[in-house]
């Protein structure tokens, strides 16, 4: 999901950079305020941990392999603000040192993987935890939240590619969403198993973090929510809704599309492959069905992995 340079255009890079800078700035301020000094080195170490964990590949259907993104896992372990900082750090190092993801695309990558993935994953995790208490509920919650966050981040990535005119939405969305519905299963499974492994070995670690890292007020989540909604509204909504060609029609209305035309080619001019249009609708239906199936699977996994007697509230 790391977008290289050259795959997104100037306007997408600029918009994502602004949203991401706001999100990371807010997360840094929040972390500085809430994290006890003892925990400050943990941010760097958690980033190193996530990098090492991302090197481990797991098999996905069809002989391909995926690797952990980990935003939701880190958010569940350390809280959402710390997760935004940790994943951003990983992305910066991957971009500068290992050329994984572009420099100008950093804003887009940070938005998809650090902000959207961690925040959405965390919100879903908390909502499910509210319903299903105990460690069993947590395992279910983290598996389901990781899946949802992975798929949503991939959809957002497809939106950015489409908005840049690199790959048309009618191809990018089905391709990215379908592939990540499978990768997401691996992500959810690994995240839940890792969470459980940490819980079994050092339950105190998770309880302690739960007390210090989690947001005390709803305001924090609301602000992240606004940022994420803004991003999704810009990158995904124009394509997902029935508005004719999203922003281009806006550009047409204001009459500046011809001035910008050398900079941004129109997203999907008269696509030639027949029958591809229904792929978007089919993917959306599959996504909805998939999330139900994954939730049931996560529920069953929680039951299967955690014996009844350890259902202690943490």
């Amino acid at each position: 999901m790391h977008i290289p340079d050259g795959f997104i255009d100037g306007k997408t890079a600029a918009v994502t950079a602004v949203i991401s800078a706001a999100g990371v700035g807010f997360a840094l301020r929040q972390v500085r305020r809430e994290l006890p000094p003892r925990r400050v080195p943990l941010l760097g170490l958690a980033a190193a941990f996530l990098f090492a964990a991302q090197m481990v590949n797991f098999p996905v259907a069809g002989g391909t392999s995926g690797h952990l993104v980990g935003g939701t896992l880190v958010a569940a372990l350390l809280g959402p603000s710390a997760a935004v900082v940790v994943v951003t750090t990983v992305l910066i190092v991957q971009c500068f040192l290992f050329q994984d993801g572009g420099v100008l695309a950093l804003g887009a990558n940070v938005f998809n993987m650090a902000i959207l993935n961690s925040v959405i994953g965390y919100v879903i995790y908390r909502v499910v935890c509210h319903w299903l208490t105990g460690i069993r509920g947590r395992v279910t919650a983290i598996a389901f939240a990781s899946w949802c966050a992975t798929v949503l981040a991939a959809i957002c990535c497809a939106g950015q590619l489409a908005w840049s005119g690199t790959i048309p939405w009618s191809v990018a969305f089905p391709a990215m969403a379908t592939v990540h519905m499978f990768i997401g299963v691996g992500e959810g499974l690994i995240s839940a198993l890792v969470f459980l492994a940490v819980y079994r070995a050092r339950p105190d670690l998770i309880t302690e973090m739960a007390q210090t890292g989690q947001p005390q007020r709803l305001g924090e989540l609301v602000r992240y929510g606004l940022l994420v909604t803004l991003g999704v509204a810009v990158f995904v909504a124009p394509f997902a809704c029935s508005w004719p060609d999203g922003l281009d029609s806006v550009a047409d209305k204001f009459g500046f599309s011809h001035k910008m035309s050398p900079l941004l080619p129109a997203p999907a001019p008269n696509y030639l492959v027949p029958g591809i249009h229904w792929a978007v609708g089919a993917t959306a239906v599959a996504g909805a069905a998939g999330s139900l199936i994954v939730f049931v699977l996560a529920l069953l996994m929680g039951r299967w992995l955690v014996p009844k007697q350890t259902k202690a509230d943490i």
Binding site: P4, L28, P41, G44, T89, F96, L193
Partner: protein
């Protein structure tokens, strides 16, 4: 060592490019990348100019050619994907050509800068342009302990493998999760010890 295994050992060597100030290299690289991404594909002269400049820099930097080539290959699946998708479209050729040229030039720029500049110097530049201190600390600590943790995870993996007697091709999710979970625990324990060490030298 895992540092060389990750292919990041060249930033410590020496050449005229290595000796340039880090801020200059980062600034020029940023300008090249931004301009290359924004430039319309019709601006042939710009792309050719950038390509020549990069080739010249690569020559001066004494980085092994094969290493650069291997790093550039990372892009090939992305470019292929875009080529495939756009092959069916009327205006497709221009688009995939633009994506391919731009992404290769930008990637080569980043490869050259990151392999001729030690990370500590990059951090110093970031500090001088007022990137928040907490982010700098986190970046520095991550980079410092990256290799320590990778070694640790490799040792754990080997220790596991040495006691795994079945040769099945089955993937062991639980084993993997235990190793990753252990890694998180070790990372957080090490974070505590680092905090102690920082305090011991008067950190406030």
């Amino acid at each position: 060592m895992s540092a060389s295994w990750l292919g990041h050992q060249h930033s410590q060597s020496d050449s005229p490019v290595h000796r340039l100030p880090a801020a200059l290299k980062l600034g020029v690289a940023l300008v090249i990348i931004v301009a290359t991404v924004l430039a319309p594909i019709q601006w042939r002269a710009w792309f050719i100019g950038v390509a020549l400049l990069l080739v010249l820099t690569a020559g001066l930097s004494r980085l092994p050619l094969f290493f650069l080539f291997r790093r550039l290959l990372v892009l090939s699946p992305f470019v292929l994907g875009v080529v495939l998708v756009n092959a069916f479209q009327p205006a497709g050729r221009d688009r995939w050509l633009a994506v391919a040229v731009k992404s290769v030039l930008c990637l080569l720029t980043v490869i050259l800068v990151s392999n001729t500049t030690p990370f500590s110097q990059i951090l110093r530049v970031l500090k001088s342009i007022r990137v928040p201190a907490l982010l700098i600390t986190t970046l520095a600590l991550m980079h410092r302990y990256l290799f320590v943790l990778m070694d640790e995870s490799e040792r754990m993996r080997r220790a596991r493998a040495s006691r795994t007697f079945t040769r099945g091709r089955r993937f062991h999710w639980n084993t993997l999760a235990t190793v990753v979970g252990q890694l998180f625990i070790r990372a957080s324990e090490r974070a505590e010890r680092i905090y102690d060490a920082m305090c011991a030298r008067g950190w406030k």
